[in-house]
């Protein structure tokens, strides 16, 4: 294969989660190299690499690291493994198939930023992944890779702890994650101050997504410029794209960060089941604005998708075929945000259930003329009005579905029923094989 694979290269190889397997493939040689470099030189390489956060916001990782105040200690690293954005399922596979790559990334990140304690906040539902990661961390302690001395020689203690959540989408929001890690309910904090300045226990804290951190060893080994060259513009490297919905081969695909969305769906994923047409694609997790089927010939690079009116967010690509009722799809998405609103800000707490109820009403043929405008108005009065981005995340699907598929909403109201009926929804597709990093899941 001519494509460069950074994250999925070892997935599916025998015992890939073990230290022995990781070492035999050259694992921890990057940490060896990093320990011979000045910490600031590693930060520079990460800046040069154009690595951008893979959790959703796409913020420049190296730049984020430089926001740590110079003279405050201790500093903390928290790795966000709360993967909960509907349509996103990549971090779990990094942990399942190559946890030592993540651990090496954590060690390098801590060395580069003078951090001695890292917490991996993993969502509560990932019980198995938490066990796999804890076993890998135990191996790393046992082998003297982490613990009192890095790689058994550098006078640099490092502890890595797994902290398992208990079921709350909001805890993927970085400041809610910190609250949760401090033993509280997950209410997002007002920003500024940003976590880099006032984070965990009030101390400077870096929060990066699992996939982001797992890229660090490759960058240290091959240099930031080589990573940047794999991407385009201000986005370097490859990315894990998660494809779900009505495609023939759903799964996780590692592709250059600017890969074409249509190519991913039609070629890599083998197109839509039954040869049907693509009606709509949500390109970056359920909160990303939806694209109509004729809008998908676009690069998935952060800025390119933004220019196309959506966002590449967490890399979760949800494909819907031409039998899909868009009102019903939105109804389910709206239900999710209503369920997961933490309740702190009134517009989101009150507005998300209102939107859910109105969409539900329209879907079941009880809508009134004017309801579509009312719905758009509700979404507009949530977006931008809340402490954290969940309000926007709830508003964006509503705004975009109404904009792109307005006629379908009107049709429901006019005909006083769902024109698609029950029979078309939720085709069982058990015959499909999911492809995860080039292997069958």
């Amino acid at each position: 294969m001519s494509e460069t694979l950074i994250l999925t290269k070892r997935w599916g190889t025998k015992d890939s989660a073990t230290l022995a397997s990781y070492r035999s493939a050259g694992g921890y040689s990057s940490l060896e190299k990093g320990l011979g470099m000045a910490p600031s030189a590693i930060v520079d390489e990460v800046k040069t690499s154009n690595l951008r956060g893979r959790g959703g916001a796409g913020f420049a990782t190296g730049l984020k690291w430089t926001f740590l105040p110079k003279d405050v200690r201790p500093r903390y690293l928290t790795v966000n493994a709360d993967e909960s954005e509907p349509g996103t399922f990549k971090d779990r596979y990094i942990i399942e198939h190559d946890p030592h790559q993540l651990i090496e990334g954590i060690a390098l990140t801590c060395w580069a930023n003078d951090i001695h304690t890292a917490y991996v906040y993993i969502r509560g539902e990932f019980a198995r992944q938490a066990r796999i990661l804890e076993a890998a961390i135990a191996e790393a302690y046992q082998a003297g890779i982490i613990g009192p001395k890095l790689l058994g020689k550098a006078d640099f203690p490092l502890d890595i702890f797994v902290h398992r959540g208990a079921g709350a989408y909001i805890c993927g929001e970085e400041s809610a994650l910190l609250e949760s890690l401090e033993g509280k309910k997950g209410y997002p904090r007002l920003k500024p101050p940003f976590p880099a300045v006032v984070g965990l226990y009030g101390k400077p804290t870096i929060i990066n997504n699992v996939e982001t951190i797992a890229n660090i060893p490759w960058i240290v080994t091959n240099g930031g410029a080589a990573f940047a060259a794999l991407g385009m513009g201000k986005s370097g490297g490859t990315r894990l794209f998660c494809v779900s919905g009505h495609v023939n081969r759903p799964g996780v695909y590692e592709k250059p960060v600017h890969y074409n969305l249509k190519k991913l769906i039609m070629e890599d994923c083998g197109g839509v089941v039954g040869g049907r047409k693509v009606k709509a694609v949500i390109p970056g997790g359920s909160s990303a604005p939806v694209l109509a089927g004729d809008e998908i010939d676009v690069s998935m690079e952060f800025d390119a998708l933004k220019a196309a009116g959506s966002m590449s967010g967490s890399g979760g690509v949800i494909v819907m075929d031409d039998s899909t009722c868009m009102v019903r799809a939105l109804s389910r998405i709206a239900k999710f945000y209503a369920e997961e609103s933490c309740g702190q800000c009134t517009p989101c707490r009150e507005g998300t259930p209102w939107m859910e109820a109105l969409i539900h009403k329209i879907e079941h043929g009880h809508g009134h003329p004017g309801d579509v405008d009312k719905l758009a108005q509700m979404a507009n009065s949530i977006g931008g009005q809340t402490i954290c981005a969940l309000g926007d995340a709830a508003a964006m699907p509503v705004q975009s579905f109404v904009k792109k598929f307005r006629a379908e909403f009107e049709q429901h109201i006019h005909e006083r029923r769902c024109p698609f009926g029950e029979h078309a929804w939720g085709k069982t597709q058990e015959s499909r094989d999911a492809v995860v990093g080039g292997m069958r899941a």
């Binding site: 399922f89 079921g167 949760s180 033993g183 759903p250 389910r332 069982t428 058990e430």
Partner: protein, 173 residues
């Protein structure tokens, strides 16, 4: 007389001593992960241990977690009621959870959801009459590529079909 007033920090003393000891033994290594003055960080792990040992999070169990972490029982209740994986009411011997979010819904989860409710004779969140199974729908489990997905007693089962789901719930004792 048992003291079940949540606001009473000493309510945990009504719990069976043997299980309180086990709670403390399981909590001790976890406490080492957090700074000495930040033990409250262990609230989620402590409540998880408590629920596992005592069945569900009663006011007494919440008071126990709060006592060991040096915070008020209200802090424990706040956490216990915020996170969906915690139960403050009794649940069945097994917890069966089905994702019905968009990826699973697009691939047939709604039909499985309706069928399992019928089969078990429960509404969403209900427990079977024999106390065997509590069943509910949950939000995205991060298995959209291998949808539909379920959690059976916190263990993930993927690429679920109606037949597979029915077989699984039949086999739970």
């Amino acid at each position: 007389m048992p003291n079940s007033d949540l606001r009473s920090p000493g309510a945990w003393r009504d719990l069976p001593a043997e299980r309180v000891q086990r709670f403390d033994a399981e909590l001790a290594p976890i406490l080492k992960r957090y700074p000495d003055d930040r033990k409250a960080s262990a609230m989620i792990p402590a409540l998880r241990i408590g629920e596992h040992l005592f069945g569900h999070l009663t006011p007494e169990v919440m008071a126990l977690a709060a006592d060991r972490l040096g915070v008020s029982p209200a802090r424990a209740e706040e956490v216990a009621t915020f996170y969906v994986m915690f139960f403050t009411k009794p649940k069945g011997r097994h917890l069966v959870e089905l994702c019905t979010n968009i990826g699973c819904s697009l691939t047939g989860a709604d039909r499985i959801f309706e069928a399992l409710k019928r089969k078990l004779g429960v509404e969403n969140g209900g427990t079977t009459d024999d106390g065997r199974i509590t069943f509910r729908e949950v939000e995205c489990l991060g298995s959209c590529g291998t949808a539909p997905a379920m959690l059976i007693d916190e263990e993930m089962v993927e690429r679920v079909t109606l037949e597979k789901a029915e077989r699984i719930v039949e086999e739970l004792k």
